[in-house]
């Protein structure tokens, strides 16, 4: 194919025509680009609040027709652990942005009972607003064929076995994530 400069020098072709041809070629290339329809996320955090963003993005990406995968590593393994309901908590310690029922200095949030209270409070708040639960988001992710990949290395470090995880989880390492990510325009580390 001729380059833009060569096209410009072809007699009888106006600049407008050349721009139009180039624009069409770009659009054709974009239509062939599979990476536009792929998303690869990493979920590295194991608290209730941080379990939401990767699952919301992954289900929405899959619902938008994208091949989607989530790589769960380090504390992110909590999200797909069979016991995720109990493991996913929220901590107000060091998190001054967390809305509290009454104003309090942040060091008070370190007192016994504050963690469970904050977790309970966030669950009630979410339920009250009809936000999907983590269980519902995981179910949607499975329905939408989102690939859920657990990091084998951190599983070994934390002493987890493959049976500890919810159904449908695959197991792999950094190369598995990169194989998905190199073919995806949307990649995010959460």
């Amino acid at each position: 194919m001729l380059g833009e400069q060569e096209l410009m020098s072809v007699p009888g072709l106006s600049e407008e025509t050349v721009r139009h041809i180039v624009q069409e070629e770009i659009e054709r290339a974009a239509a062939r680009d599979q990476a536009v329809r792929s998303a690869a996320f990493i979920a590295s955090k194991g608290t209730l609040d941080w379990a939401y963003p990767p699952l919301i993005l992954a289900t929405t990406a899959a619902a938008s027709g994208m091949d989607t995968s989530v790589f769960f590593t380090f504390y992110g393994l909590n999200i797909i652990h069979k016991d995720f309901e109990r493991k996913l908590k929220v901590s107000p310690i060091g998190n001054p942005a967390m809305p509290m029922p009454v104003p309090m200095p942040n060091f008070v949030t370190g007192l016994p009972g504050m963690g469970p209270m904050a977790t309970h409070m966030m669950k009630s708040m979410f339920a009250g607003k009809h936000v999907a639960t983590i269980a519902e988001l995981l179910e949607s992710a499975r329905d939408l064929d989102v690939r859920l990949v657990a990091c084998q290395m951190t599983m070994d470090v934390f002493g987890y076995s493959q049976d500890d995880f919810v159904d449908g989880v695959e197991f792999g390492g950094a190369a598995t994530y990169l194989a998905a990510a190199r073919n995806a325009h949307v990649t995010l580390f959460v």
């Binding site: 929405t60 619902a63 938008s64 027709g65 009809h130 999907a132």
Partner: protein
């Protein structure tokens, strides 16, 4: 305004992100090409999310309007 033939209806009232989109995708999947879905949502985010989703997926947002705090979308399946 000419009335559009509705093939299926999805009530996502009371649901928040990402559920209206997740359920819309499922409902559209079940429709034949050219089928029209009527979506009801109360999530304010849907006002920007639904057009963004139709643009990403190539489906067509025929129209949307607000009716007593409910957002009503008509989406035509591509193809």
């Amino acid at each position: 305004m000419a009335t559009t033939h509705i093939d299926s209806e999805l009530d996502a009232r009371g649901q928040l992100c990402p559920m209206p989109i997740v359920k819309t995708a499922k409902a559209i999947k079940e429709l034949g090409a050219g089928g029209v879905l009527k979506l009801l949502a109360t999530d304010r985010g849907a006002v920007t999310d639904v057009p963004a989703w139709t643009e990403t997926t190539g489906n067509e947002l025929l129209e949307w309007h607000e009716e007593d705090g409910v957002f009503v979308f008509l989406i035509r399946k591509a193809g």
